[in-house]
Symmetry: C2
Subunit: 271 residues, 2 copies
């Protein structure tokens, strides 16, 4: 039985974004951020040396649907004031992944020991925001109802390369009935900063997905006979591209352990 004390340390859906970040900073939170500070946008993190940051920024600029940038730091500065109060990007995520030559070498809960003056942080929008908007309109999402990760797939859609970054777009899939799919296009079109409108609807084979029941990332989610699979560009794309580039050194968030920003979801709506 958890003590009242440890319960109070754990942030929840109604916590402030800062409280979630402080819990990660203290070590009290070291797993995932799903559902925490639920009014606030979360972001994927990529940290690169300045020598590769310009190319990665070009890649994101050329591929805004999989790589919508919420914020980019100054080199060496662990703060990101545009995304939240008192952010220390080295400590404020529950868990990180450290990559060397494209290989995962560690999953620490902070990266202060690895910090360098030439590191640039990129925070990339995440589908939690548009899922929040969809559910707020009464559109049920099966993977959420079933407590699973969204199903994600590598596709035959090539990203626009920005040397050394290149590779296939990864998409997430949500099964929806047609009327909800149409409404979902409308709703997510309002959120270009978090992947925006879908990139595909219907036949998975047309975008190179051979087995809808066997996702490349996340969990399989059933598509019912009266539903269409609806595919959105996914923030796993830059992670896959990054791994494929086999950079000497990179840091990312660990899966599900995102940066919780001060941005309210609805402030990311374009109109």
């Amino acid at each position: 039985m958890s003590s009242r004390h440890s319960f109070e340390q754990q942030p929840g859906p109604s916590s402030s974004a800062l409280a979630v970040r402080l819990a990660a900073r203290s070590g009290a939170l070291n797993t995932h951020t799903s559902g925490l500070a639920s009014a606030h946008a979360q972001g994927n993190l990529v940290i690169l040396p300045k020598s590769h940051a310009g190319d990665f920024l070009r890649f994101c600029q050329a591929n805004p649907k999989p790589c919508p940038l919420l914020g980019v730091s100054e080199a060496g500065d662990p703060a990101l004031p545009v995304l939240g109060e008192d952010i220390d990007i080295r400590t404020d995520l529950p868990r990180y992944r450290v990559w060397r030559e494209g290989e995962l070498v560690d999953e620490p809960t902070d990266v202060r020991a690895l910090w360098r003056d030439d590191l640039v942080s990129f925070v990339i929008g995440c589908s939690f925001t548009f899922e929040h908007a969809l559910m707020a309109e009464g559109i049920a999402l099966r993977h959420v109802a079933q407590g699973r990760n969204v199903a994600m797939y590598r596709t035959s859609i090539e990203t626009v390369p920005a040397d050394p970054f290149r590779g296939p777009m990864v998409v997430s899939m949500r099964p929806l009935r047609a009327a909800d799919a149409i409404r979902a296009v409308q709703i997510t079109s309002r959120f270009p900063a978090v992947h925006g409108a879908p990139v595909h609807i219907g036949d998975p084979a047309l975008i190179g997905i051979r087995a809808i029941g066997v996702p490349d990332y996340g969990d399989a989610v059933e598509v019912m006979p009266d539903e269409l699979p609806v595919f959105w560009a996914c923030g796993v794309t830059p992670q896959a591209v990054l791994a494929a580039a086999r950079l000497p050194f990179a840091i990312t968030h660990a899966p599900g352990a995102m940066l919780v920003t001060d941005l309210l979801h609805h402030r990311l709506a374009a109109f």
Copy 2:
């Protein structure tokens, strides 16, 4: 070979809307309005005695996707200043249909002889406007390329009844590849006054269409293997509902012989 004189009497794509209406009024134009004054919105026409006008207005209000009202006249007044300069609704369409007890009894080129002080005119938005917007964005429409009417179908989607008006929604179908279907949802969502976003995408059987190759109205258009059928609410719905209500007296436009309004297509965009 047509004389230069008769050629000049026929309006074309670059004619003014008023010129098209005057050509209809003079009798020089007595067929269809497709492609004429092509920057301008066209409308479906329904003329009813005041005794039924209130119920029909309720029906349109309850069913804005198939029955988006562009304008409603004063009883007995053949003008519609909100839709154009010097409109005489009794003469300015190329051809009309006259209905008695739900039966088509005549297709005259003007209805001055039938005019009454209690007649109310309803002008309902038409898909020409959103087709114009789709094509302006480079989305090819097969029925247009093939010079056919759009394929239309009765569905299992029931309209919201407003006694005595009730019945199934009629939809038009355009085959599109998924990326174009998504873009078409975005584009047509901007035009609620001309049917707005699609009502269905994908499996026709889910909305009660048994044979996509056998439309109930218009011409069959092939759906390619890499395309989705995309369905929009259609202005034929109020005509079908009207016929089913078997009113003592009604006038509508003849198919394809619409009111050409002074409204520019792009002015109907909601944002």
